[in-house]
């Protein structure tokens, strides 16, 4: 089944025809596990990243009694590497998983239908359309926002993050061999810090919109949303064709 297509009378992945409600298996387990690990890591990265740039008030006493900044940085680097590892897993799932698993990694840029879908969804959000359409995967607007303010920026954060990390690891480290090229684009690491920092705010903005949209859609739209990311099943709330 092609994602983003509206469905009529679908049966779910297990072949069972739901009587009252249409349900369809959308988010496979790896995607769901990834989602929540990713959300947790990013939350840790937001908080620790912010305090790396603007540290907490000075700690009194002897330096040997405290490792506050060290611990904050450790948490950041640990969460960063877990995030990166799961992102690799998620990329693997583009190929191994179902069609919905691919949606946030591309834009059907040349498809008229797609942009019409974006326009309709935007109209719904601007209170201009009476009702949203039904989608199995992400709606077209969500796909647009996820691709441009999450998927791509996160790759940027991982690349710049590892480049910054390689500075501490030294120029003989694998991190420097793999990510040191970042400093050929921005020779001054201060610039990379600034961009990595701006990237955080892109993701914070995404998170605000995303969580709001998830909660709102859960209430307002014609399909289940939050429970879909927990159980994987999309439940449609009515029987209408679109």
């Amino acid at each position: 089944m092609v994602d983003g297509i509206q469905v009529a009378g679908v049966s779910d992945a297990h072949g069972a025809r739901a009587v009252e409600r249409q349900t369809v298996y959308v988010y496979e387990a790896p995607v769901r596990v990834w989602h929540w690990v990713n959300a947790l890591c990013i939350t840790v990265l937001f908080v620790t990243g912010y305090f790396i740039a603007s540290p907490l008030p000075s700690v009194p006493g002897e330096a040997s009694n405290s490792f506050l900044m060290g611990n904050i940085r450790f948490a950041h680097f640990a969460a960063g590497q877990v995030l990166a590892a799961f992102y690799l897993l998620r990329i693997y799932w583009i190929f191994a998983g179902n069609a919905h698993g691919r949606q946030i990694f591309y834009l059907p840029f040349w498809s008229r239908d797609y942009w019409a879908g974006v326009a309709h969804e935007a109209a719904w959000y601007l209170f201009l359309a009476k009702a949203p359409k039904k989608y199995v995967g992400h709606n077209p607007l969500a796909q647009l926002i996820m691709f441009s303010t999450f998927t791509v920026p996160l790759i940027f954060m991982i690349v710049t993050g590892f480049a910054l990390y390689s500075e501490g690891e030294g120029i003989d480290s694998w991190q420097h061999k793999a990510f040191g090229w970042v400093f050929l684009i921005w020779p001054n690491s201060q610039e990379v810090h600034t961009l990595h920092h701006l990237g955080m705010w892109v993701l914070v903005t995404f998170a605000i919109i995303h969580i709001y949209a998830a909660v709102r859609e859960d209430i307002m739209s014609r399909q289940s949303i939050i429970s879909s990311m927990i159980s994987g099943e999309r439940i449609f709330k009515d029987e209408a064709a679109d």
Partner: protein, 360 residues
């Protein structure tokens, strides 16, 4: 005497003793991070290899590199290297002047084709055909290209030659341009800093003239032996950074105790240089030791990455000078407010629609 003179011949002619010469070799070998065997290798090379001429040219610059260079900590290093250098050409400190001086350039170019080192302090401005820096009656950029043609390698001294420095600060009216953007077909070694540390400069010159090749360089073209670590990696205040002990005001308790200068804008975490190990003025001190943060003088664009006294750099691309937090919080704030409004409108609409359906 051999037909082509070696460094040793020149040095002895300058009245330097054999004892000073061997001391110089050991000191330099140590400062380059080599073992004791290298000292005798160096001595042997300097005694037998033909002398490598060094031509030192000045573009748009402030002469701080030369000033640093002649203050090298080990007096013998200075004497020896300076006698090697001044032999050929350095218009600031050489005795010859005018046509006599320019003749040396022609001669070196011919006689030592492909064998001399071109050391460049400063950089050429490219706007208006290079008119903003005239040297010996022609634009410096022409002289630079002309001398570079036959050089073995080029040393780009300081932040000017390596990155552009303050004369290249936005909006860079003269289009001052670092050497590696003008000369593309020669090996270039960058020795950034404003100025670079004296011992780093003499170390680099000695290495190249002794071994006849460039030392190992990093991806950005800097010698690994001096620029592979950040100030922050070897800073003696680092334990205070890790502990979270920061100077917050110039006159607070932490400042007196010598805590980390991160919150006062220290750029040590993003600056590659040898200050925290080699230090300055003969190893006496370096900026952080005297209580002032690093301003990142050996880094690309440091002049435009201010303020020097704030941790976060200003971003100019948005028309106003704001840092990443100010821009990010403004964006997140606008989006947050939009979301709140949207939620309110949604709630009202829902109530209204419900009433309408109930009426039907």
């Amino acid at each position: 005497m051999p037909a082509i003179e070696s460094f040793y011949d020149v040095i002895r002619r300058q009245g330097i003793t054999r004892r000073s010469f061997t001391k110089f070799c050991s000191l330099t070998a140590a400062s380059l991070g080599f073992g004791p065997v290298a000292a005798s290798k160096m001595a042997y090379a300097l005694e037998t290899n033909p002398r490598v001429p060094v031509i030192w040219m000045h573009g748009l610059e402030c002469t701080c590199c030369s000033e640093s260079f002649i203050r090298s900590a080990h007096p013998l290093a200075k004497d020896v290297v300076l006698s090697m250098i001044s032999l050929d050409y350095d218009d600031t400190i050489m005795a010859a002047a005018g046509h006599q001086a320019e003749a040396i350039l022609e001669e070196t170019k011919e006689k030592y084709k492909g064998k001399y080192i071109l050391a460049v302090e400063g950089n050429p401005p490219l706007n208006e055909g290079g008119m903003f820096c005239i040297d010996g009656g022609k634009p410096f950029v022409e002289k630079l290209k002309w001398m570079a043609e036959d050089a073995m390698a080029i040393i780009a001294w300081g932040a000017c030659a390596s990155w552009g420095c303050v004369q290249a600060a936005a909006p860079n009216p003269t289009k001052a341009t670092p050497i590696d953007k003008v000369i593309k077909d020669k090996p270039i070694i960058k020795v950034p800093g404003c100025p670079p540390i004296a011992e780093v400069m003499t170390g680099v010159v000695t290495y190249i003239t002794t071994f006849g090749r460039l030392p190992e360089l990093d991806r950005q073209g800097r010698p690994k032996m001096f620029y592979s670590q950040r100030i922050h990696d070897k800073c003696y205040r680092r334990p205070h950074f890790d502990a979270g002990q920061f100077v917050e005001e110039w006159d607070d308790e932490s400042a007196r105790k010598g805590h980390c200068l991160y919150k006062m804008g220290c750029k040590g975490p993003t600056t590659y240089n040898a200050c925290s190990t080699v230090r300055w003025n003969g190893g006496v001190s370096f900026p952080i030791q005297s209580g002032h943060g690093c301003i990142g003088c050996s880094e690309e664009g440091f002049w435009d990455k201010g303020p020097f006294y704030k941790r976060l750099s200003n971003i100019r691309q948005f028309g106003v000078e704001k840092n990443a937090d100010e821009i990010g919080m403004a964006a997140a704030g606008v989006v947050g407010a939009a979301v709140a409004t949207h939620a309110a409108v949604t709630a009202v609409k829902r109530v209204v629609t419900k009433r309408e359906t109930e009426k039907l």
